[in-house]
Point group: none
Chain length 420, copies 2
C-alpha cells in the first residue's frame, strides 16, 4: 500500500512555514508499514488542488491531505476532494453542535462567527474524525478504490488527530499488523549511534531498525510486520536487547515519551519533590517539566534567576561567590542547586547556569553551561560545551539537567562521558 | 512566471527531516516575485523522479530541484533531469579539479574516492553553479521553454548556493519585484478577523491581503508586486492603514517578530525591568521572554510557584489568602504580581495563575486563568476562560500576560474586551 500526502496552504508555498505535517505523518506511516512515494504541496486554490488530487489518484492507494479544513473562504479541501471523488457534502448537525460547544466553553475569549459552521459540511458516507484540539473536524472515505483521509493543518491538531483517528483507520485496512518500539537515546549523536548499529540495520528486513535525529537526542525505531502482536513482539525483542547492549546506559527508555516524562515517573515512584534554579535556560526546564499533566505531584517550582540580584535571593548564593567564581561556574551551579532545594524544601535541586549565546561567554565561550544536581547524598555537576545556536544550547542544557536526574534516580553515575 | 520545487530524497519521505529547503527557497522566490504553485517531494528513485519532472514540465515555467547531486549511487537528479529535457551529460574537467582540490584542502586528510568525480558530470550547455560549501556543484539550463535549476540538498549548501547562484540567475529573468508587510494581531481569532476583512480581501488583487492563524494569534500579510520597492510601498500603505483602522488596537505591530519581542522593545525603550510569578504556565512566560537574545537587559527573573508552599515564598502571598480565595483567583494573581515585583525589585510584575487542565478547576473549570500586572500605578487583572488543551491554555495565558504589558506600556487599557 502506497500513500501520498497533499498539504494544502499558500503559506507553505510562500515559505512562511516548513511542512512539518508531511514529515510527522510520513514518520508515522513508515511505522505502519505504508510506503510514502510523494509529498505534494499546493496553495489554497481549487483548480490546482483538483489537479494535484487527479495526479495522486493515479499513483497512490491512500491520499492524506493536511490543511484547508478551517472556517475561512480559503479553506476548500473538503469541497475539492469530495468533488474529485464524486461525493456530495452534507451538513453534520452533530459536528455543528460540537463547534458551537467549543465556542460556548471559551465564552469569554472568542465569539463564534457563522463561517465556523462551514466546517460542519462533510463528504457523504465519510468517517468523521472529531477534532478535540480545535474546531475543524477531519474525515476519511473510500471511493474509486482509494482511501482519502483529511486532517487539519495546524501541526498540533494534525498530529493529535493522526494518532487518535487516522492511525486506527489505517491499521484496520491491513490484515498484517505492524508493531514498533521506540528506543530513546540521550548523550550520543545520530551519526555515532548509526555507525555503531549500521551492520545490524543493513542486515535487518523484518523487523527493521531506523534512527531518527530528534531535538538533542536520538530515537531508534524497531518495527515488525506480523500476523499477531505476539509474533511481532517476539521478532522485536532480540533487536531491542541487542541495541540496549550496544548503546548501553545512553538508552534512557523504551516506549517512553521523553526525558522529562521518564524523570517524572521516577520521581513519582520514589515520592520525591523537585525544584530548579535556572539562569541561561530561562524557565525552559520548568516549562518542560510542567508540560506534563499532574507535574505538581513531584514539582514544587523554581526560579529563573536572570540577574545577579535575583541569584542572590537563593540561600547560599552570595554576591561574593558570584563575583569570585563568575555567574557561569561550577561553584555557582552547585550553589544554585543547593539554594533552590533549601528555599523550596525539595528533595532534589537542579541548578543550570551558562552562556546561551550569541555573544557573551567571557573566556568560557558561548555554549558553555554548568548543570548541577543536589540531594541528601551530595552535589554533582557537569561542565558542558554545547556549541552555538541559542535554542539548541538551551534545549541541550535542559536535557543534561534531566539526564543527571534520570541517572541519579536509577543509581548511575551523573558524569557525562563525551563520545571520543 | 511560476515555479515548482522538486525535492529529491527518501529521507524526506520517511519523515526523518522536514523539507526546509522548499520553505527557504519559496520565501526567496516570493521576494523575487516568482509564484510557487507546487512543491513535490520524491524519493531517490529515477522512475518516480522522471514522472514528477514530466508533471512539473506541464505546469511550471521554472523547475528548481534540491538534493540528489552527491557522489553516491542514489544521487541521480542530474541524470534524470538531463534525460527528461533531452540533454547529454559531459564531464567538466574544471569542476573535477575543484572537487579534487576540496579533498586536498580538507584538514582531516580525507582521501577522495573515485565516485566523487561523478559530481563533475553536468548537462551540456548549462550554467554551472560552483559549490563553495561542499563538493556537489549545481547548475541551470533552459530547455523546452523551461528554466531548470538544480541545488544540493543539505540546507546550508542549498541556501548559500541559492543566494550566490540561483538568485542572480532568476533576477535576470524578470523585471518585477515583490514586497510585503506582516500585520500582527492578538485578541481576535482568525475567523473573526477574516470576517471583518473579507470584503477588502476579495476586492484586492495587487496588493493582496491574506490571514494566517499563528499560535494564539493572527498574522495578516499584505503583498504587492511592482516595478520598484517605492511603488510597492505606496500600494501597500493604504491597505495597512485600512486594516489598522478596522482591527484597531488588537494590531500589536507591523513587521515585528512576536508579542514578546514587542514587549521587549517597549521595556528597553523605557528602561524598565520585568519579573514574573507563574503557576499554571510553569515557566513558559519566562522561557518566551528569554528566547530573545539580550533579554537580561529588561528581565530580572521569575518564579514558577507550582505548589502552595512555593507561592508563600513571595512577599504578600499568605497561606491564609490562598486558603480564603483559592490558589486560582483574582486576589492571588494580583498578590503574585505584586509579590514578585517586590521580591526581585522590578518595575513591573506579572502574575499568572490558573488551571491548565486537563482535570482540576474546582468550580471555575479547566482553562480558567487569571493574569495580573502590577506596577507603580496600580494592579490590573484579567479573568480568562481559555477552553481546553493544556498547551493551548498555557500559550494563551502567556499571550494575555504579554498583551497586558504591551497595552500598559503603550497607554492602552489592560482590560480584555471579548469579541461579542
Amino acid at each position: 500500500m502506497t500513500a501520498e500526502i497533499i498539504s494544502v496552504g499558500t503559506e507553505l508555498l510562500l515559505g512562511n512555514v516548513a511542512n512539518t505535517d508531511a514529515r510527522d505523518i510520513s514518520e508515522r506511516l513508515s511505522e505502519l508499514g505504508i510506503n510514502v512515494y510523494y509529498h505534494t504541496v499546493v496553495g489554497d486554490n481549487p483548480e490546482r488542488l483538483t489537479k494535484a488530487v487527479e495526479i495522486a489518484k493515479d499513483r497512490a492507494d491512500v491520499i492524506i491531505t493536511t490543511g484547508g479544513l478551517g472556517p475561512t473562504c480559503d479553506d476548500l479541501t473538503k469541497q475539492v476532494l469530495a468533488q474529485a471523488f464524486g461525493l456530495r457534502l452534507y451538513f453534520d448537525e452533530k459536528i455543528a453542535e460540537v463547534i458551537r460547544g467549543y465556542f460556548e466553553k471559551s465564552l469569554h475569549a472568542v465569539k463564534m462567527t457563522e463561517n465556523n459552521l462551514q466546517q460542519a459540511y462533510l463528504p457523504e458516507g465519510c468517517t468523521v474524525f472529531n477534532n478535540d484540539w480545535g474546531t475543524a473536524p477531519g474525515c476519511a472515505f473510500k471511493a474509486a478504490g482509494k482511501h482519502v483521509l483529511m486532517l487539519p493543518g495546524p501541526p498540533r491538531e494534525c498530529n493529535a488527530m493522526f494518532n487518535a483517528c487516522a492511525e486506527p483507520y489505517l491499521r484496520a485496512l491491513s490484515d498484517d499488523m505492524i508493531a514498533s518500539h521506540s528506543i530513546r537515546v540521550f548523550g550520543r549523536g545520530e551519526s555515532s549511534v548509526e555507525q555503531k548499529l549500521r551492520d545490524i540495520m543493513n542486515e535487518l528486513t523484518n523487523p527493521t531498525l531506523a534512527p531518527y535525529a530528534k531535538e538533542g537526542e536520538v530515537l531508534l525505531r524497531v518495527t515488525a510486520k506480523a500476523k499477531t502482536a505476539k509474533e511481532a513482539e517476539a521478532m522485536m525483542e532480540p533487536v531491542v536487547n541487542k541495541v540496549k547492549a550496544i548503546i548501553g546506559d545512553f538508552v534512557y527508555g523504551v516506549d517512553v515519551g521523553s526525558l522529562e516524562e521518564t524523570v517524572f515517573s521516577l520521581m513519582c515512584e520514589k515520592g520525591l519533590k523537585l525544584a530548579v534554579a535556572e539562569s541561561c535556560t530561562g524557565g525552559l526546564f520548568s516549562k518542560r517539566v510542567t508540560d506534563i499533566p499532574g507535574a505538581s505531584s513531584m514539582f514544587l517550582g523554581g526560579m529563573t534567576v536572570y540577574s545577579t540580584e535575583s541569584k542572590t535571593k537563593l540561600p547560599g548564593v552570595e554576591r561574593a561567590l558570584i563575583e569570585k567564581e563568575g555567574a557561569v561556574s561550577r561553584a555557582v551551579a552547585v550553589a544554585m542547586a543547593a539554594g533552590i532545594r533549601e528555599f523550596l524544601g525539595a528533595d532534589i535541586g537542579i541548578g543550570i547556569t551558562g552562556f546561551a549565546g550569541p555573544g557573551g561567554g567571557n573566556g568560557l565561550g558561548a555554549g558553555s553551561v554548568f548543570t548541577a544536581l543536589c540531594d541528601s547524598g551530595g552535589s554533582f555537576v557537569r561542565e558542558l560545551h554545547l556549541g552555538s545556536g541559542r535554542n539548541r544550547v538551551r534545549t541541550m542544557a535542559v536535557n543534561h539537567g534531566l539526564d543527571m536526574l534520570r541517572r541519579r534516580l536509577t543509581g548511575l553515575s551523573t558524569d557525562f562521558r563525551p563520545d571520543m
